[in-house]
Amino acid sequence: MVDKTDEEFSLQALRTGDKAEFARLVAAYSTPIYRLGLKMLADPQEAEDVLQTTFLKAFQHLPEFEGRSSLSTWLYRIAANEALMLLRRRRPEFALDEEPEEGAPMLPTQLADWSHLPERDLLSGEARQKLDLAIQMLPEKLRVVFLLRDVEGLSIKETSEALNLSETAVKTRLLRARLNLRERLALYFAERLSEEDHP
């Protein structure tokens, strides 16, 4: 969900190392790439590392970019790989994610209807912290799918291209991520709902 589209950039200029065109690309995508790094890693220094490495690698490899995916998807792919690699470095003894791919997704257990809570509850500072924490608690492989699809606004196809996954795998992970987040937020917002009913 970046405002600029690939059509606004000259691939030919980018491939031949045109710095002015590359600067336009950096200006358009530096915030989304930083945001992805920050939400994946919850560490501003590592998010900056992801940002710098993504554009350094992009500049280096643009001459070979074949345009099989869009420029933005390609940048997100580099950034997501960098972020996942940093996560692996943090705890090399564990494989990323123990979340099984198969089987039915978790069934909802929290059934309070908090969707109509007033904005002051849904958007309070405390609520935002809970949102961030809930995203951080997602297994990495679900988190990256959720961030690309639901925060950055990539399509299912673009997300599958960015992560080198099948569209079916993206959909499975997205469903799990959404239900997982809903469940965690429901626990918090149900308490706010109870306070509304019994102030």
Binding site: K19, T31, Y34, L111
Partner: protein
């Protein structure tokens, strides 16, 4: 699931596809019929939608800090093309 009856369990499995508009009109219609009579599923649908919206809106408020931007421009040697943001 095209001919299968919609119930609370299988609706959950297609919830994401439904939210993303990836299902046929016919299946959407049957899901909506089920939700009209099932408070449980309507709440799960509404709160899942709201979850996505809140996470999206909160995350999109993230801005690129000025010092991070400046170091990026320096690293990429783009000072002649990307001027510092005026205070």
């Amino acid at each position: 699931m095209s001919r299968q009856e919609i119930n609370c369990n299988n609706l959950c499995q297609v919830l994401s596809d439904y939210i993303d508009g990836e299902l046929s009109d016919e299946l959407c219609h049957r899901i909506e019929e089920h939700m009209a009579g099932c408070e449980h599923c309507r709440v799960v649908f509404d709160t899942t939608n709201k979850t996505i919206l809140l996470c999206h809106d909160a995350a999109r408020e993230t801005e690129l800090p000025t010092d991070v931007r400046e170091r990026l421009v320096e690293t990429l040697h783009l000072e002649d093309f990307l001027k510092p943001k005026s205070a």
